[in-house]
Symmetry: C2
Subunit: 341 residues, 2 copies
Amino acid sequence: MAVTIRDVARASGVHVSTVSRTFSAPHLVNAETRNRVLAVAEQLGYRPNRAARGLTTGRTHNLGLIVADIANPFFPPLIKAAQAHARARDYHVFVADTDEDPRVEEELIRAFTKQVDGVLLCAPRLGDRTLAKLRRQVPFVLVNRRLDGLPAVLMDVGHGARLAVEHLAGLGHRRLALLSGPEGSWNSRRIRESAADAAAAAGAELTVIGPNSPTEQGGQIAAPEVARAAVTGVLAYNDLVAIGLVEGLAELGVRVPDDVSVVGVDDIMQARLNRPKLTTVAMPTVAAGRTAVDMLLQLVGTEEPGPAALTVLETTLVVRESTAAAPVEERPARLPSGEVT
Amino acid sequence: MAVTIRDVARASGVHVSTVSRTFSAPHLVNAETRNRVLAVAEQLGYRPNRAARGLTTGRTHNLGLIVADIANPFFPPLIKAAQAHARARDYHVFVADTDEDPRVEEELIRAFTKQVDGVLLCAPRLGDRTLAKLRRQVPFVLVNRRLDGLPAVLMDVGHGARLAVEHLAGLGHRRLALLSGPEGSWNSRRIRESAADAAAAAGAELTVIGPNSPTEQGGQIAAPEVARAAVTGVLAYNDLVAIGLVEGLAELGVRVPDDVSVVGVDDIMQARLNRPKLTTVAMPTVAAGRTAVDMLLQLVGTEEPGPAALTVLETTLVVRESTAAAPVEERPARLPSGEVT
DNA sequence: CTCATTAATGCAAACGATTGCAGCTCCGTC
DNA sequence: GACGGAGCTGCAATCGTTTGCATTAATGAG
């Protein structure tokens, strides 16, 4: 068996409470005693049992972080920022992956309950009702999802989508496609709405394709449909989809950006590495990770909730090589405000 | 406060032990009572406190998984495989990232202690002595690291490195470079040793460069040095480094594979997406994740350790577009077994 | 009808820590 | 020389569950 506080107490001739205090309130115990206890503890290899401590104090000093897909390069920077930030505040972050499955997501939240002080839910796929119910199990902060009464940090992807569409329109593209994201995704809806608005304002036509899986595969699969739709500009739900699409189009003999322009969302590392380098909407993931931790810690620190905080972070458009002026044949055919049958 | 077993007991007019049993040993309680308790529990929203349960049973049904860098695309498939496999066995996997810092690694192992039943250590950066000490805190299984007396699953990257060097030599390359990995990495040493052996056997010269950071940046930074070394074939510690190198060489006007051939290690998703598609040593990450979980569960399930198991998984060479025949000017200048000053 | 058996439940002691309260010693003060 | 206070330490209850044992009631056998 592991060595417990009791073993240390016995071996150093003091009561367990003194040992406990040596670790959790050192100033309350005589320097001499403290040193003796520490020495014995060290020698016995004693480590406080954090689970047991959590039972009495109600604080585990752990945070949970749930993402839909660790393999999506969008998340690691956020995760790392959150971990580093939390560690500096003497908290540990445990990460879990839901595999895009809402049921797994719920199960994981339940599993985290009482083992962490709070959880960061990144782009949850769960429905509003379930989330509202779950919030009573464990405090949480949402990332990229808005729900009344719950603290959240949002990246204003709608703004980014608008910029993207305006960028394409400015390049002369009039027939655009949107490769949409997962049903449950709040981000996906924001992108769709803003892109539609911006397209309408710019007098461009916008076709919605999908949703397919929010991965390269999803993008690759969408390629034939994109080609068939005869669009010249595409906004993809995220960079992975965009990269997959470029790949898929290449196989169909469609060149990017010569024949069609593609813009992604997220600005993951691969966007820079891709050929052509991807034009994309950059997300402030690091800031989001830090902010979310701060909000969560503030939430678990206080007895009463206070008003649910909401932080909105800005997104920007990064123009690289995957977008270019629309092909000439396409332009003269339609009026700027052209309607379609 | 959260609703506890006691609340349920009171509300349903039975003793706490009966409530406990309805959840952990249903067959011991009368069907009628059980249903009543379950109904009350449901209505009150009772959830067992897993930390408290772990205190008495000694089992948390959680596993920890520690990696050096979540952002490295090598890990996600392994992580996902481990999570899925564990979930099927009613275990949850919590992941933590050490940021390549051995101190953080140790801290995380300590943090996991008693909160999980065992931990999977992926390519730990910790020294042998520390690992040997830590193993008494919590059972663990090593991945890609060998240490006497500790169960491990290894991917035979040495074999892969040998294949890679033979592949390059077979294409006529005589001057090779190895971009080495982090000091503490067991894999890195294996690669270096095997590559050196294979190079010697093939009569090729092998220059070791680095170590730099095992990331794209690291590869990019190494590019000038590679160019200066006037080699025609490079084996990189991993795909990220290889991809960064290709990028860095391009900026220097050196073409891959025309001027120099590059092979990576890991076969991450980006290897297929890169232009040129990367020739690389494929690692059986999914199998590794599953096997590691199995070994760990077997380890925590039994009272006495038994012999430390060791599983070695095979690696293969995937030839794509980043390797080609050595440039012609280079070949006639030297004998196959050419020595250098 | 009695007795052994079984099924269902209650009782209370753990698990490993924390913490309010009380007690003791020692010191300085008046 | 009694008193008040400070500084340490011990006592025991508590956190939410599990589980070996005792208890009770119901069942079946002889």
